[in-house]
Amino acid sequence: MQQSATRKDSSSCFSSLSRHAIEFSSVSRLYPAGSVTALEDITLGVRRGEFLAVVGPSGSGKTTLLNLMSGLDQPTQGSVLINGAEPESAVKWAWLRARAIGFVFQSFQLLPAFTALENVQIPMFGVVKSRAQRLDAAHDLLHRVGLDAKRHRYPDELSSGEKQRVAIARSLANSPSILLADEPTGNLDSRSSEAVMHLLQDLSRAKRLTLVVVTHNHAIARDADRVVELFDGRIASLTEKGGL
């Protein structure tokens, strides 16, 4: 029942391409080793500016979905469109990740040899040509995530919550239109989780970003505009806000 509702919603979304930041059309991802099907026949449209939460048990395909959205992984079947176009090569995907898609990881993925300020500048190479502009933008982003005072600290000198805030600042480095977050509060205590999620939502609202968050946390999912629930690589349900 829920599955059919999902399909109806997805197909209606595809009628207006311009409304979608991300579009999945019959996407499957099969891992040859062990013939594991991570995702099967997913059709989904993520509207521009919406906050979509992806929930589901471990192994349901949440991270694979996010990896496919960012082009870090490629579907074995179907197509993924970003802003209405299908990136046809790894080069194009890299270009999109640099300019249009920001990524926040559960384990922060900060480079340990670089300070917070330097970590935020890393994605700007090749996009922001001027060194001074990179520095100014990084300062500004760290200010926005409240880490001005700790900009010269290395990742191992920061708390988990602070690390994730640096990671959020880094994901926004090139003013992307899409922000993907893979369990961004997974390694944080409840207080930090709340702060990080507020930050993510505030920033994405302020910039009208499309925010896709993979989470186990139902409190986070409650704040989302829509919630996709995955089960065994398929969409089990797609719920509009207030439906949870």
């Binding site: 640099a98 990524f103 993925q109 480079l111 040899a113 480095a173």
Partner: protein, 373 residues
């Protein structure tokens, strides 16, 4: 932050490995600098000296690998003088003798009427008596290194040579050799009536075309001799070529070792930085930028080691040519061609060593890379 800061940070992150790699490359490039520098120094000293003393063409016996062991009948001079276009002929017997002090000395014998005596500017004493058997003039550089003055005595393998004078010559070989009447040296070496080379001045010899014409004419008339231009005398010498080939081969072994060490360092670095490469990929770094990062890191290692190697190599060369056995035979001077050769070697090591690690970095699956601990 610039790309160079990332590279420096990476290199500083593993100081011991970086230092060892740089030292190994420095040793390889230093060895290359010394070995090729010796050859180039010999070439510069020899060719330069011939040009400065006014030789256009030098004739020696064909097929003789070691020029010093060649023996030509000294009467050939009269025949050569008669050839059309030959302005002057100067015979010379050259050899290296070892003094009782252990120093190896280049000794040159010239006939009393040779124009070669004209380049000898006395600082002290006088020229040797043309008929003497044991009088020599000592070049200024050699006199200083042997600490000898006019009136002194040199002792080659039990004999005695009296220093008639000390002279300054306009070329490095002359300044670091002994000069004596030809007959005296023939007696000393037991090579009566023999000479080693003939120096010729020819009409139009200051220009390539005139030189080639004379060379062709003389080569046709005297096929048993090799006539070489003063500017390329060293390069056309078989022994020199053999030595240069050997030094290149030895250098190559060292350079390959250097390349392998940088390659190993970069390969390990890529393996260690798998997660970092995954992060760079995830934040939108293109494959080209990641390759550039790895290649530049490899080049930085190669350049740091290479520059240290060049500096150490030149220092080593300077010290080496002070050795009594080598003094005066080799002129060490940095040259653009040497620098170009060394730069090419550094570039080849850096690019060659970085290629496969960069390729591996490019081929990393970003998802697997991000999972790496």
């Amino acid at each position: 932050m610039r790309l160079v800061h990332i590279i420096i940070r990476h290199l500083v992150q593993r100081p011991v490995r970086t230092a060892v790699t740089v030292i190994c490359v420095a040793a390889a490039v230093g060895g290359f600098t010394v070995l090729t520098g010796l050859g180039r120094g010999l070439e510069t000293a020899w060719n330069g000296s011939l040009v400065k003393q006014g030789t256009h063409l030098m004739a020696h016996r064909k097929g003789v690998m070691n020029l010093l062991t060649g023996a030509i009948d000294e009467r050939i001079a009269d025949e050569l003088k008669a050839v059309e276009g030959v302005e002057s002929v100067s015979t010379e017997l050259i050899d290296v003798i070892t003094l009782e002090s252990g120093a190896s000395v280049l000794v040159r014998g010239w006939p009393g009427d040779s124009v070669l005596w004209g380049q000898v500017a006395l600082i002290s004493g006088r020229l040797p008596d043309p008929h003497s058997r044991d009088q020599v003039v000592v070049g200024e550089g050699l006199a200083q290194s042997l600490d000898i003055q006019a009136g002194g005595v040199l002792s080659p393998f039990g004999g005695e040579l009296r220093v008639a004078g000390v002279a300054r010559l306009d070329n490095v070989l002359g300044n670091n050799s002994l000069m004596m009447p030809l007959s005296g040296l023939q007696d000393l070496l037991d090579r009566q009536g023999k000479i080693t080379v003939v120096h010729l001045r020819v009409e139009g010899g200051d220009h390539e075309k005139g030189l080639e014409t004379a060379r062709a004419r003389l080569s046709e008339k005297y096929p048993q001799f090799l006539f070489v231009a003063a500017q390329t005398a060293a390069q056309e010498n078989e022994l020199y070529r053999f030595w240069r080939g050997m030094s290149w081969a030895a250098s190559l072994v060292g350079l390959i070792m250097g390349l392998l060490i940088v390659f190993n360092t970069m390969l390990v670095a890529v393996l260690e930085k798998t997660r970092e490469i995954g992060v760079l990929n995830a934040v939108g770094w293109s494959g080209r930028r990641i390759i550039t990062l790895i290649m530049l890191e490899s080049l930085a290692l190669s350049a740091a080691g290479g520059l240290a190697g060049i500096a150490c190599g030149y220092l080593g060369l300077k010290l080496l040519v002070l050795h009594p056995k080598l003094q005066g035979f080799i002129l060490v001077a940095p040259s653009w061609s040497a620098l170009a050769e060394q730069s090419a070697v550094i570039l080849a090591i850096g690019l060659g060593a970085g290629l496969i690690p960069a390729w591996r970095a490019l081929k990393l699956n970003p998802i697997d890379a991000l999972r790496e601990r």
